[in-house]
């Protein structure tokens, strides 16, 4: 994404929700394109690591330990970003707690935790950041989801429901906020891994099934993220785009 068309220079981004992959890889992608990045999630150690990677790109980074399932913490997070950066041009919402278990064994607690972490967090973040973006009369919201927002896989009921919820939230906010200059899009990731997974026989089965015969690396979401965050996408909203190694397109 070397072109100036996609430059995020002078922009400020908030990457929120997940410290497992996305804080780092989304943060770095946006920083590479020139944005300063605020990173908010629960895990402080990983947050600092992600911030370090952003700074290595020569951009400003701040970390805000936040439990996004708590609306008041999210509100404070937004206030802090605005206090430090002046505005929020881009929000990447990446709440992504993975969980799979046979449906009959899913407890009330499991269900609530997945829905709270993945869906209610998105509600809190979109509401708090959206308010700020409406004042700015411009904004980019990108929800980082899984392809399981649209498709089922055995044992993933709670996770699929949570992702599907954020996808529909995306489509509604796109319509509600288009007139405020805010675009809202979602990226659906396929099977992702930071490391080679070839051990378990089930994983082999999955590998054979994937058209590209490999997992995606979280850094492969970066270019699309930058594109959707850039000034070239004023007319591009409400879409669900896949970075999935073609798993969604094949029969």
């Amino acid at each position: 994404m070397g072109s100036n068309e996609f430059s995020l220079s002078g922009k400020t981004a908030l990457v929120v929700g997940d410290s497992k992959y996305w804080s780092k890889y989304a943060g770095v992608a946006l920083a590479e394109a020139g944005a300063d990045v605020a990173i908010a999630a629960r895990n402080t150690k990983r947050l600092e690591e992600a911030a370090g990677e952003v700074r290595r790109q020569g951009q400003k980074a701040i970390t805000i330990p936040t439990d996004t399932t708590d609306a008041s913490q999210v509100q404070k997070m937004v206030e802090q970003v605005v206090a430090e950066f002046g505005r929020i041009d881009i929000m990447v919402n990446a709440s992504d707690l993975l969980f799979a278990k046979p449906f009959l064994e899913v407890s009330e607690g499991d269900w609530r935790r997945i829905l709270d972490t993945n869906l209610t967090s998105a509600f809190h973040c979109c509401q708090a950041v959206g308010k700020q973006m409406i004042e700015q009369k411009k904004g980019r919201i990108i929800n980082l989801l899984s392809c399981l927002a649209e498709r089922g896989v055995e044992n993933f009921a709670a996770y699929c429901a949570s992702m599907g919820g954020v996808l529909q939230l995306t489509r509604v906010l796109d319509i509600e906020w288009a007139r405020h200059g805010i675009t809202v899009n979602a990226i659906g990731t396929g099977w992702i891994s930071e490391v080679e997974k070839t051990e378990a026989p089930q994983e082999e089965l999955l590998m054979k099934y994937m058209p590209l015969k490999r997992y995606g690396h979280p850094r492969e979401m970066g270019p699309l993220l930058v594109y959707l965050a850039s000034d070239t996408t004023d007319f591009f909203s409400g879409q669900f785009l896949y970075v999935d190694g073609a798993v969604m397109s094949h029969l």
């Binding site: 046979p102 499991d110 044992n155 396929g190 054979k208 999935d244």
Partner: protein, 272 residues
């Protein structure tokens, strides 16, 4: 849905490709509901056999040898239907060549092979819709049921013509549904999954998951009547408010598709 109640009493139906498989199963189910059936396909013996079986069920039947890729043949088939059967109410576009992967490289495909694949599976459906639509508009009602495929919704390796044509059938159905909705004409599409047309057994064998069908969530291939019953619903007045729909009937396959059937990991929530 109760069957055998004469839901389609007095209705005239054209079934293209009705000599075997899905078309035949649907034709016989509709005949049981009292419909009169016109079977239009190329294979004379097969369509005459279906016609005999329809008559055995007490319905009127007509076998009209037709190559649906020829618009003129289609026109005269429809004219003859209306003349001899006294009307036309329902069209089931089922004719086509089921062929997914082509045993050739893309760059080896000739213009003729491309056209044949598109003509049989898409143009034939268009010709039949074109030939019947004016009649439907004039009489103020009509139903068209187009057989598409999951291959028309997702890509399948090396499936150049079949999948592309079926995708065309899906959108043609939507266009026709939209255009003729106000004329009380319903146009719907069925996307069958893997249907084993070699076995005409009326009811599926349940409970047994065969090894070869393991990739289908319900664990078995479809049988022609799986599709036939959906045709019956879309042909009957039960579906009078249903138009422009796309109905997969595939044992659950399209609901998944990001992991092989049977892939069922257990993943604990990661503690912070």
């Amino acid at each position: 849905m109760a069957t055998g109640n004469g839901t389609l009493q007095g209705k005239v139906v054209i079934v293209t490709g009705g000599g075997t498989g899905l078309g035949k199963a649907a034709a016989l189910l509709m005949a049981k509901e009292g419909a009169d059936i016109v079977i239009a396909a190329r294979r004379v013996n097969a369509i005459e056999q279906t016609a005999r079986e329809v008559k055995d069920l007490g319905g009127r039947a007509l076998a009209i040898p037709t190559d649906v890729t020829d618009g003129k043949q289609v026109n005269s088939m429809v004219e003859r239907t209306i003349a001899e059967m006294g009307g036309l109410d329902i069209l089931l576009n089922n004719a086509g060549i089921v062929r997914g992967q082509v045993p050739k490289q893309l760059w080896e495909l000739s213009d003729e092979e491309w056209r044949l694949g598109i003509d049989t599976n898409l143009s034939g459906t268009f010709y039949c819709c074109r030939a019947t639509m004016k009649h439907f508009v004039d009489q103020g009602h009509g139903k068209i049921i187009n057989i598409a495929s999951g291959n028309g919704m997702r890509g399948s390796r090396g499936d150049y013509m079949y999948g592309t044509a079926k995708a065309g059938v899906i959108n043609l159905s939507r266009v026709l549904a939209t255009t003729f909705a106000q004329n009380n004409i319903q146009v719907n599409c069925i996307a069958p999954g893997f249907v084993d047309v070699r076995h005409m057994q009326p009811e599926p064998a349940t409970g047994e998951v065969t090894r070869t069908a393991k990739f289908i969530p319900v664990g078995r291939f479809g049988v022609p009547n799986d599709i036939g019953h959906l045709v019956l619903f879309l042909a009957s007045e039960a579906s009078d408010y249903v138009t422009g729909g796309l109905f997969p009937n595939d044992g659950g396959g399209l609901a998944g598709g990001v992991a092989p059937t049977g892939y069922a990991p257990v993943i604990e929530m990661e503690e912070d």
